[in-house]
């Protein structure tokens, strides 16, 4: 099954944890919201048990190396993201299709996944990549 890949970034002044996922989508236009599913035991899911803010970064087709680095980093943070500054109170990844920032408003258990409902506050769109191709991956279904 082909899925679009995204990163979920959480942290304070710096990125503390990152997760690679293809389980996400918008939820509603009003209130503007998205959902993302993560393994409940992942570092990001554990972080979100105590904190509410996250950034969902939809990766562009040219960011395969970044996706690979995140996948290989396990619970850690790859170097490319470790020094990512929190500009305007949000993380924004250059070259990505979008970086959407929000607050977790609900958590549901769906199968073996933790589903997070996220109220959207803002988004960064990189003008160089708007309308570009997303990074796709074959994901198990």
């Amino acid at each position: 099954m082909t899925g679009t890949l995204a990163l979920v970034l959480v942290g304070g002044a710096r990125v503390e944890h990152v997760a690679l996922t293809s389980s996400f989508a918008e939820v509603a236009h009003h209130p503007a919201a998205l959902w993302v599913a993560l393994p409940p035991a992942s570092a990001v899911a554990r972080w979100l048990a105590a904190h509410e803010r996250l950034t969902l970064v939809v990766l562009a087709a040219g960011q395969r190396a970044l996706a690979r680095a995140c996948a290989d980093a396990g619970d850690g943070v790859p170097a490319a993201l470790a020094a990512l500054p929190r500009g305007d109170g949000h993380f924004a990844v250059a070259g990505a299709l979008s970086s959407t920032h929000g607050r977790v408003t609900a958590r549901e258990s769906v199968g073996d996944q933790a589903l997070f409902l996220v109220a959207i506050d803002a988004a960064d769109l990189d003008p160089a990549t708007v309308g570009g191709a997303p990074l796709l991956a074959e994901v198990p279904a």
Binding site: V27, L117, P127
Partner: protein, 572 residues
């Protein structure tokens, strides 16, 4: 493509927002304004078909479909196949997941539906194709994507893009994404209630335009035109035009007039007695072009012969007479009531375009019909005619309204001063029909004002306007969707050039009709004579004509009453 309902009542919905949550669960979030949401909740199951890039046109058609169209599959010509749980799916989709609805979350104007996957089906032939992505349907395909990407990067790197946006006042990042998302397409609960008040589906349309009838089989038929007047001559011409091998006969009360008519029409014989004409073995079918008040008596005289009859509209002048005519049909008389509007190709084309979403939700219809005419003889006698121009012409446009928009639920009518004092019925009338499904239609019928070359039917929708002319071989579609030329015109300088360019019909498309005869008369006679030759007339025709009359009479009630009058529900 998300599917609700069943394989016999499929409800498709275009979506790009879905994902698996783990291998066992699939999440989708349909817009609550669309019928699919209700269909999935009612059945507790749904299917999701992934499309290949080569299926882009299918998805574009679904995206453009009318939101409240009750039968999108037929309107768009989608191919549906059955899956487990009697779920529908797009035939030929590379992958389809069939799910039971495990639960749903109340998340605002889109509900989040959580499904458990019960079966994943694949089409091996299409699996190798690239998938259809959101960007593939939200933008025109790029002819040179790499060049486009390079150009965009250059514009960003040099600061040219930012400078241009500052100059145009374009803000790179929304100040408030939630607010802008809501303003662009979000709905509060109160707004949802307002938008859903006329129904999530428009179920008010009971009649659909028929397909263009095939040619009449070549074997000769004996056809008797009853009523040697002006309209009888039109019947004779139409019989000749659609079935050159037909043997024509004529029937009228006045022997001299009937014989003269028969001679002019090249008829094989003529009659002065209706029962004798019907009993003659040379006559296989009859067409009736008679004064309105004798329709019932003529049908009752023909009932015993049981030969196919084409009766001119209106079916009768009273519902009691119409019911007697229907009773004759039920008793075995093959009957079709003539209504050219039913067969008019512009109506079929316009109805198809409406169903496909060309004008979005239809809101208003304007129908202007008639033209200068000074009726004489029985047409000027209100007792024989059953009314005036509203009955004689309005009955056509009532049918057009029913084919295009559906059944009205109330009616209001008024009229200007009388001009022609030589006719007993009204010489003009303006009638406004309204439906609980959300639309209104104004029908202006007049024999004392000019028609000129104006469209006789104009449909106004949220996304466009459709115009039909009585004798043009196309319908015109004016859409609000911006065109490339329109965008260029908007920024053209100097101002005089811009104004001139904006005055051009840039958003206009002419859609040709399927039938070379734009009036519908030839198709109507093909349907009748073809039905005679094949032994089966089009079904339900007389009952539809009775309903037309019922609506016309409700218009007269409103004219007398001066206020809104409820329309009796369609018993059809």
């Amino acid at each position: 493509m998300l599917w609700g309902g069943t394989v016999t009542e499929p409800e498709p919905y275009a979506t790009a927002a879905f994902a698996f949550a783990g291998p066992s669960h699939l999440l989708v979030n349909p817009n609550r304004l669309y019928p699919v949401d209700e269909a999935i909740l009612a059945r507790g199951a749904f299917a999701l078909s992934w499309l290949a890039r080569s299926q882009r046109d299918v998805m574009l058609a679904l995206i453009g479909a009318r939101r409240r169209e009750p039968d999108k599959v037929r309107a768009l010509g989608l191919a549906v196949e059955a899956g487990p749980l009697d779920l529908p799916a797009l035939a030929g989709a590379p992958r389809t997941a069939f799910c039971t609805l495990e639960r749903w979350l109340d998340t605002g104007d889109h509900r989040l539906l959580i499904g458990r996957v019960v079966e994943l089906r694949t089409d091996a032939a299409r699996l190798a194709e690239p998938p259809l992505l959101y960007a593939d349907v939200t933008a025109a395909p790029s002819v040179a994507p790499r060049l486009e990407r390079l150009a965009r990067r250059a514009l960003v790197a040099t600061g040219a893009l930012d400078a241009w946006r500052r100059r145009r006042g374009v803000v790179a990042r929304p100040r408030s994404l939630p607010e802008e998302t809501y303003l662009d397409g979000g709905q509060t609960e109160a707004e949802l209630a307002t938008l859903l008040a006329p129904g999530v589906r428009d179920l008010g349309r009971r009649l659909a335009p028929p397909a263009s009838p095939p040619p009449v089989p070549p074997a000769p038929l004996g056809v008797c035109v009853v009523g040697p007047g002006g309209w009888g001559a039109v019947h004779a011409q139409l019989v000749r035009a659609v079935h050159p091998a037909a043997r024509l006969y004529v029937c009228g009360r006045d022997a001299a007039r009937t014989e003269a008519f028969a001679r002019r029409a090249g008829a094989a014989g003529w009659f002065t007695d209706l029962a004798a004409a019907a009993a003659d073995p040379a006559v296989q079918a009859l067409t009736l072009a008679l004064p309105h008040d004798v329709h019932r008596a003529a049908i009752e005289a023909l009932a015993a012969a049981r030969k196919p009859v084409l009766l001119e509209k209106p079916i009768a002048t009273t519902l009691a007479d119409a019911d007697a005519i229907l009773a004759a049909e039920v008793a075995g008389l093959p009957l079709m009531v003539a209504e050219d509007m039913h067969w008019r190709p512009a109506i079929a084309t316009a109805a198809r375009l409406v169903a496909q979403g060309a004008i979005g939700e239809p809101l208003y219809a304007d129908m202007v019909a008639g033209g200068h005419l000074r009726p004489s003889g029985w047409k000027a006698d209100v007792a024989r005619m059953g009314g005036g121009v509203w009955l004689d012409v309005g009955v056509h446009y009532v049918r057009a309204l029913r084919l295009l928009l559906g059944e009205p639920t109330r009616v209001l009518a008024a009229r200007a001063m009388t001009v022609n004092t030589k006719m007993g019925g009204e010489d003009s009338a303006r009638v406004l029909f309204a439906s609980e499904a959300g639309w209104q239609a104004q029908l202006l019928t007049s024999w004392v004002t000019g028609r000129f070359d104006l469209p006789d039917i104009t449909l106004f929708g949220e996304r466009g306007t459709l115009c039909c002319w009585p004798r043009r071989r196309w319908v015109e579609l004016h859409t609000t969707a911006p065109t490339a030329l329109g965008r260029l015109a908007a920024v053209a300088r100097p101002a005089a050039l811009r104004e001139w360019l904006l005055g051009l019909p840039l958003g206009r498309r002419r859609i040709p009709l399927d039938d070379p005869d734009p009036t519908g008369y030839a198709a109507e006679f093909r349907a009748f004579l073809g039905g005679v030759a094949r032994g089966a007339l089009p079904a339900g025709n007389a009952r539809a004509a009775r309903r037309d009359l019922e609506l016309v009479l409700a218009g007269y009630d409103a004219l007398r009453d001066g206020g809104w009058v409820p329309v009796p529900p369609d018993a059809g």
